[in-house]
């Protein structure tokens, strides 16, 4: 095969990407995500003011000085939204990492071994799964108390069964594929079969669930802090600002509510769009069929 | 003439560009005739079959003419072609498992099909007609309340045939109808198709890679290679007096039943990539008789001893 230049491959990749509608979707989703990640990483440089200090009069409407206005304590809403991205993404990433870190290996093993072990584990996971997510998270968060890691853990507990179920079911079906039997006929060890033949085939679903879960985790985190179970004030947090802002909507201070709300909606939308397209792009057989 | 294709081109789109799966072919089916369409996979025969019903992706490019009775098919839009599908042209696919909806009972499947073309039909009427046609294909009518997955492979193929026949089409396209079946069931299905064709007085296009299968029932055989029809002849002529080198090699590659003939013959190489087909005669890279001109200029179709051949060996023009 002729070696291809990187630019040539990049070109093919881009033409692949935009060959269809989902390509665009992924691309726009990725742009939104990159935007928020930049906000989160460079918030000290980007934010015009310190988000936890009083910088103007309370409830100033958006103007030249405060583009998004100020809240009831005179803090800059724009700066708080920017810093809020930091907390939201951090908690979401940690939570999802914990959930995947626990759920994926358990799912792999459970699906591969099968038998009573699999049944018991599935039962436990299903029990967790059948709880309404937010209520479970509230309960755990209430026990653990505030703090970034504690919030992340309580969200992770909610999402671990998602990984477990998806991976377990995939493994159980991939396990009966002919190429797994072929590997066994070659004399491969169970560990090799699991890592070389089964894992690569379930990896795409992991990635897709991962990106979808990030969106959910952000929603849950916002929900927790909206209910006052999140990060302790005055740390900027979208959910907390949302609940804080809604108290003043009646006094016509819509900006305290609107901007954190938009931030939550767009970042969740970004993740969803991204994960939607990722599913197709990552799978070589689906990709080929187009 | 029931069906006729003139200068037909069907190109479908892939990442690599347009695949010239059907490239300028002329093809016709008379009333009551069975025409075999034979070739290796990747020669465009299935694309042609699906192209007649326009069930290819919407990005597919068509040009030329395609007529069923007096209806021109090439220019039809999705709504218009839907009235042709099933009603005028029935289709039997290779894999009856994936082409029958598994969550629908057989009777429902037939009812839906009938309803698309006869919106006023009652369930009662539909059931009656379903029973009749199922009986014809050798399935007990009472099994119509079962689901397709409850049938064996051969029985499913019978259901497919019944589904293709229920609207009394004038032309049936059978795309590798027996390839996924065992020999005995294959023989049963072929026998059934032959009987039904006579009974319903319909025409049939039988697409297959197995010359042995068509020889037993086709009146005329078209051999397709790389998007072209390279030879068209009656099945006897084709077998006893094949003209095109491809046909000759294809015939030799069929395992015959003579136990003393133990030499395996095959055509070396693969069919070409149709997004970038070879210049000149498309078979020339694999042809043992190729001349200089074959690699330069596409051969015309000439008539030799009752067969139509697309090969320079018979055109009488030596460069």
């Amino acid at each position: 095969m002729r070696k291809k230049f990187i630019s040539e491959r990049l070109g093919e990749f881009i033409s692949d990407l935009f060959g269809t509608g989902t390509g665009w979707l992924t691309f726009v989703g990725a742009l939104i995500l990159i935007f928020y990640i930049i906000l989160a990483v460079f918030s000290p440089q980007i934010a015009p003011y310190n988000p936890t200090e009083r910088v103007g009069r309370s409830l100033t409407a958006p103007n030249d000085q405060f583009i998004f206005g100020t809240d009831n304590l005179g803090r800059d809403v724009l700066s708080r939204v920017i810093y809020g991205a930091r907390i939201a993404l951090m908690i979401a990433f940690i939570a999802v990492a914990i959930a995947a870190g626990v759920g994926v290996p358990l799912g792999l093993i459970s699906g591969f071994i099968g038998g009573p072990f699999d049944r018991v584990l599935t039962l436990i996971m299903d029990a967790i799964y059948s709880f309404p997510g937010l209520i479970l998270a509230i309960a755990i968060a209430a026990v653990l108390g505030p703090g970034v890691i504690n919030i992340a853990v309580s969200i992770a507990v909610v999402y671990t069964p998602t990984y477990f179920r998806v991976i377990r079911n995939q493994v159980a079906s991939v396990k009966s594929e002919l190429y797994v039997e072929a590997a066994r006929a070659l004399g491969a060890k169970n560990y090799e079969i699991l890592m070389k033949y089964i894992f690569p085939n379930v990896l795409p679903s992991i990635v897709v669930v991962l990106s979808m879960n990030l969106a959910d985790a952000i929603m849950t985190e916002a929900g927790l802090s909206f209910l006052g179970l999140g990060i302790a004030p005055p740390t900027p947090d979208w959910g907390f600002d949302l609940s804080n802002g809604q108290r003043f909507v009646l006094s016509k201070a819509w900006w305290g509510l609107l901007y954190p709300g938009i931030a939550i909606i767009t970042v969740v939308l970004g993740f969803s769009m991204f994960s939607e397209g990722l599913n197709e792009l990552i799978n070589p057989t689906i990709r080929e069929r187009r | 003439m029931i069906f006729e294709a003139k200068d037909l081109r069907i190109y479908y789109k892939t990442k690599k560009g347009y695949v010239k799966a059907v490239d300028n072919i002329n093809f016709s089916v008379e009333k009551g005739q069975t025409v075999g369409l034979v070739g290796e996979s990747g020669c465009g025969k299935s694309t042609f079959g699906q192209g007649i019903l326009k069930i290819l992706p919407p990005t597919t490019y068509y040009s030329g003419n395609m007529r069923i009775e007096d209806i021109e098919l090439v220019g039809l839009n999705e709504n218009e072609i839907r009235k042709i599908r099933g009603k005028k042209i029935g289709m039997i696919f290779q894999d009856p498992m994936t082409s029958l909806n598994p969550v629908m009972k057989i009777e429902k499947l037939f009812f839906e099909t009938l309803k698309t073309h006869e919106p006023d039909i009652t369930e009662e009427e539909a059931r009656e007609r379903t029973a009749k046609v199922l009986e014809k294909v050798g399935i007990e009518p009472k099994r119509m309340s079962e689901y397709s997955f409850q049938f064996s492979g051969g029985m499913r193929q019978r259901v497919m045939i019944a589904l293709a026949l229920v609207l009394n089409p004038i032309l049936v396209i059978a795309d590798e109808p027996t390839t996924s079946l065992d020999v005995i069931v294959q023989a049963q299905i072929m026998k059934l198709l032959n009987e039904l064709r006579k009974e319903y007085d319909m025409s049939m296009i039988l697409i297959t890679h197995d010359l042995g299968v068509v020889a037993e029932m086709a009146d005329k055989i078209c051999v397709m290679y790389a998007g072209h029809i390279v030879e068209e002849a009656s099945s006897e002529n084709l077998y006893y007096n094949p003209k095109h080198p491809y046909t000759k090699l294809l015939l030799k590659s069929i395992p015959n039943t003579d136990i003393n003939d133990l030499e395996l013959k095959y055509i070396p190489g693969f069919p070409p990539d149709l997004s970038n087909p070879p210049v000149g005669c498309r078979f020339s890279p694999r042809c043992p008789f190729k001349k200089e001109i074959c690699e330069v200029k596409e051969p015309p179709i000439v008539e030799v001893e009752g067969s139509k051949v697309k090969c320079w060996l018979y055109s009488g023009v030596e460069k």
């Binding site: 095969m1 004399g187 990896l203 | 996979s41 006897e236 015959n256 095959y266």
Partner: protein, 323 residues
């Protein structure tokens, strides 16, 4: 070299909760029901039958990809059914399988070269990675995939069906096995590709001095490769013997049907066909007596009640009351 004795595989039929409560006895699908045969070194044994006859299960049993219910399989005096899991894994080098559907038999996320190489890694053949890669390249060349560099780095979906099957063959043969099961290895391919691959298998068989179990439903292809055939119907062997004798003069009505069903390309030779009605019956509830009798044109009264035993007729074994 290979001796199979009274091999059985019964699959339990799942019972519903109601059936368990009502103590309906456990039923079994007798996929393979007491078959015996031997294959000598260098021989090719053809196992012929329709789907549902148990021929594929037999192939898998012989490699112990599924565990037999009863019976013994001797491979050069080693009883394969008695090997421990670890011994079996190392023993697998000696026998390999070529599957029917090459697309399904290859991991879609593994480059085809790596797929072939993995077998070498498992059995620690060839010292270094470089050496193994070289062996794979040679093997690719041997199965006529050249230049091998063109194929090594491709994924299964990027090559054609015939090429994929060559990869599967290469993967099986690179371990230098002594015994190979070819399970409908060429059934899914086009006629002309089929002949190419059959020729390749015959060449490789001679070159590597292989012993073959050739499983197929198509009797026409067996004549090129098989010395001996066994015809299976519903888990039992109904006729077994030298290929030439059976092909020239099939005795069992089922064998006759299989032979006459082979499509004939000569339009003038529209043979009188002996096609039996119906299909292979449900193996959960097989008919009593001779299992073929409901479809058999020569069925007698005795066939409906007494199951025929294999007995010697004209130098071969047949299970039929006609003889």
């Amino acid at each position: 070299m290979i001796r199979v004795e009274n091999l059985k595989k019964y699959f339990p039929v799942k019972r519903t909760v109601g059936e368990i409560l009502l103590r309906v006895p456990q039923r079994f699908v007798k996929a393979v029901d007491g078959i015996s045969f031997t294959i000598s070194k260098g021989e090719t044994f053809g196992l012929v039958g329709e789907s549902g006859s148990g021929k594929t299960t037999t192939g898998r049993l012989m490699l112990r990809l599924i565990e037999p219910t009863a019976g013994k399989i001797f491979f050069e005096d080693v009883d394969v059914t008695q090997l421990s899991k670890d011994e079996l894994r190392k023993f697998r080098k000696n026998f390999q399988i070529i599957f029917q559907d090459p697309m399904a038999a290859l991991n879609p996320y593994m480059k085809v070269g790596e797929a072939i190489k993995h077998g070498l890694e498992i059995h620690n053949i060839g010292g270094s990675n470089m050496e193994r890669k070289k062996l794979v390249m040679e093997m690719l060349e041997r199965v006529n995939l050249s230049p091998p560099e063109d194929f090594y780095y491709r994924y299964p979906h990027e090559i054609s069906g015939g090429q994929r099957q060559r990869i599967v063959i290469a993967r099986a043969l690179i371990l230098k096995p002594k015994f190979v099961v070819a399970d409908e290895a060429i059934a899914m391919l086009d006629v002309s590709v089929r002949s190419q691959l059959l020729q390749l298998l015959i060449d490789l068989k001679n070159e590597f001095n292989l012993t073959f179990l050739f499983i197929t439903h198509d009797l026409a292809t067996t004549k090129y490769i098989c010395n001996k055939i066994g015809v299976m119907y519903l888990g039992k062997i109904v006729e077994i013997g030298k290929f030439r004798e059976i092909y020239n003069e099939p005795l069992h009505p089922y064998t006759k049907a299989l032979i006459s069903a082979v499509p004939e390309p000569d339009p003038k030779k529209k043979k009188k066909k002996l096609i039996p009605e119906g299909e292979v019956p449900n193996p959960i509830n097989p008919p009593p007596g001779c299992k073929f009798h409901p479809r058999c044109p020569f069925a007698m009264d005795i066939c409906k009640t007494v199951e025929p035993e294999l007995k010697e007729v004209n130098g071969r074994l047949i299970a039929c009351h006609l003889y």
